[in-house]
Amino acid sequence: MKEYKDIGELYKDKFENFSPEPSPKVWEHIQMKMAKPSIAYKKFIYGAATFVGAMGLIVASLYITSNKENDNDINTAKQTTEATHQTETTKKSTQITQTEHDNQVVNQVNTVKYTDVQLSETPSFSESQASEQPTVAKQEKEEYVPHVSQIVSDKAPWNESKEKQIVSSSEIKTTPPPKTNESKLKVFVSKDTTVCENSTITLSIRNAEHIRWSSGETSQDVKVQITNSQNFHVSYKDKNGKDTMANIFVRCVPCTELTIPTAFTPNGDGLNDEFKVYASGVVHSYEIIIFNRFNKEMFRSSNINQGWDGNAMGVAQPHGLYLYVIRYMDNFNQCVERKGEFLLLRN
């Protein structure tokens, strides 16, 4: 008979060669779960999709930039030829500009990386594009209505954009359009905007055909969730069949959001031992005051990282309902006050 000095030794010895059989269900379940694509595989798929999307965006932006330059060249050429009324020279110069354009395309392809950088520096990129656009509109004669990314905000977009449209079309009237019936066609695209993080916005385009958003969608309106500042591109054909692209820059700012727990357990187990408020975004001049049910102040702090441990004046407070008042300034410098209640749980 073997004697053990210690219970641990007994268990170690006894269980060393103990081989119980788990129920066959376990293996069935494992097989079932493994048959589904694993998380890692899904991640790979998402990663690949994002990569393809990013490449598509770069190619599209390249195409647009080169295309626009091409248009400019042709239009300038046409303007000069009309002024001199020499049609033959027109053709020649167009051809010349065409070849120049081809060279430019080659250059563009060589500077893919540069274009990529421009895309990431979205604010300056969109601004520069916006400032370019009026001149583009002036030069175009075939399409005398500007295909500019004009100003459609959610609240009062259309009036504002009409005003701008009138101004630009009056300028264009100096060179009368070839087809007057289609002159009323105006293309509207949502304008650049600033939104809160993770909010969903709708981007719109009107009076255009063959719409294609950078996300691949072809509808007039697209809903997108904004997680970081980014440019959206939409390519479309207007009634004159002209391929055009508009750029919408959506700026993303972190908006203040407080996560306030509804209960906590100050029992020292390391889990939810403190009543602590978590904030995402900017919080200025934070203040929290906690009261018990008899309106007696239990805790006050102006540091958001400081939580309440359930003690007031060194005395552990009993199980029950407590109230809080939180005041802070958000990143738009607006004063916000939040009130609510939470539970202190004790065994």
């Binding site: 269980f15 788990p22 293996w27 494992i30 779960k33 065994n347």
Partner: protein, 195 residues
């Protein structure tokens, strides 16, 4: 079935390679070869057989998914045992909020067992031993298993359980007392029953 016979005597390296490639044959071999050893571990760390099976199942899924991360350090079965233990600890943490264990109950347990040696009897089957350890409070059971059987140090256990090493030490001390008490009671009961 022939296919599995071919790989039945596959070496550890072959099995690992096969599992990385998600070859079902090798996955089955791995399971058949190690399931009882790991189930032994899972049983000791959980309260019920059902929990142990859940832990084993989740652990095997993690083993198959993370097979690439096994870098050859230490034994392969040791690596898998660690995963089972981690899975059991996850279950423990999940249950922590639901199961209130009152330390007071165990303070009252008599610590006056003078005879610390235990005689191994035929009746001291695995079933009884398992029952004794499964009925321990979660914290006691985990500390006892990790320190006495798996040989973790107090510091390592403290890190896993998010407590101090001295707490682990005192928990282990109490766990052993309680366990010894229970095992002795079981032996006595069994002897009385037989006589």
């Amino acid at each position: 079935m022939q296919a599995s016979e071919i790989v039945m005597d596959a070496t550890e390296d072959e099995i690992i390679k096969g599992c990385i490639e998600k070859d079902p044959k090798y996955m089955e071999i791995l399971y058949k070869r190690y399931s009882s050893k790991l189930f032994n571990c899972a049983l000791r760390y959980t309260k019920k057989v059902e929990d142990a099976e859940d832990v084993l199942q989740d652990a095997f899924i993690r083993i198959f998914e993370n097979m690439k991360q096994y870098n050859g350090k230490g034994t392969f079965s040791g690596w898998m045992t660690t995963i089972v233990i981690n899975q059991a600890l996850m279950l423990y943490r999940r249950n922590l909020q639901h199961l209130k264990y009152q330390a007071g109950d165990y303070e009252e347990i008599k610590h006056n067992i003078k005879d610390t040696s235990i005689k191994q009897s035929d009746f001291l089957t695995h079933k009884i031993l398992l029952e004794c350890i499964q009925n321990l409070p979660d914290g006691y059971r985990i500390v006892f298993n990790m320190h006495e059987i798996e040989g973790y140090s107090y510091d390592e256990i403290a890190e896993h359980l998010n407590c101090t090493p001295s707490t682990c030490r005192s928990q282990l001390f109490r766990a052993k007392k309680v366990l010894q008490d229970r095992v002795n009671t079981c032996i006595n009961d069994d002897n009385n029953h037989r006589s």
